[in-house]
Symmetry: C2
Subunit: 175 residues, 2 copies
């Protein structure tokens, strides 16, 4: 299935020169959504994945479905200040300034195998911050899956350099 | 399975007197998460559900998995300004002021059957706003599912008065 054909490109959003890749059109198509979930899970059925970590907010949609597909638990990786209990926090750089992602301190047990899921990888800042959080908890990232890779922004390369078994279902040139 | 036993109560969060019901401990347990998804989907396997609408952000986690379970597409109901394309917007009242939820104008086709999913129903403001959006698109809400109902806040009653086939998996007294 040509998943890329289900993704809507919105020119000059959120600012001039950016081609925004809108996955809501993919999510809304029952067959394309099912196929994306199956493909993100496919390589990990026998990897002993205990937890799927999904990155807020679009990573929740795919990550929840992938967790169900693999019979794993789900762990939300949230933006700063959104989780109600004790958290670990990891900052990452944005184009201007810094932001942070957080997980609950008891979300993942030491030694557990974790699959990281998000909708898109660009510079990889959020994914690398999530990776750092999971490793701080003593767990092991067995893989990372994305629907979209924007390779010119280098995030997939950075994840691979960190030894992460990372995969994207569609690749779009440009940013 | 006693799903309520997997939910963590955080006293006085986010403010004194509120017992916050934290579902991350349920989501993180593979069996409890699978059971919750199965229970939310169970009554709708033969209802011709074309789309599952999940409310940002925790409703994305459950809604994505329920959509996969039912072989339906997924529609994100997002907070104002988060969707990239043309939207319909519906305001709802908060304790102080108003907020709004939005869906893409092409997210649901007229006549489609939609299942609404969120983690919790309290006053029902968000769920009723989502219902209004789905109906504005000419679609039909065949049901609504929540993990938690706080019945003293009246949301479930309001949904039922609107004729919605609504269900919650756990009920907690108090707010």
């Amino acid at each position: 299935m040509d998943l890329a054909s289900f993704i809507r490109t919105i020119p000059d959003h959120p600012k001039p020169g950016i081609q925004f890749r809108d996955i809501t059109t993919l999510l809304g198509d029952a067959r394309a959504f099912a196929y994306a979930v199956e493909q993100l899970a496919a390589r990990f059925h026998n990897s002993g994945v205990a937890k799927v970590a999904g990155i807020e907010a679009r990573g929740f949609i795919l990550g929840g479905a992938v967790a169900r597909e693999l019979g794993a638990g789900f762990v939300p990786v949230r933006k700063r200040g959104k989780l109600p209990w004790r958290t670990l926090s990891q900052e990452y750089s944005l184009e201007y300034g810094v932001d942070a992602v957080e997980v609950h301190g008891d979300a993942i047990a030491p030694g557990e195998s974790v699959l990281l899921i998000d909708d898109l990888i660009a510079t990889g800042g959020t994914a690398l911050a999530a990776l750092a959080l999971i490793e701080k908890l003593g767990a092991h990232v067995v893989g990372a899956g994305f629907v979209i890779d924007l390779p010119e922004l280098g995030g997939m390369k950075r994840l691979c350099e960190r030894g992460v078994n990372a995969q994207a279902l569609c690749v779009f040139a440009g940013r």
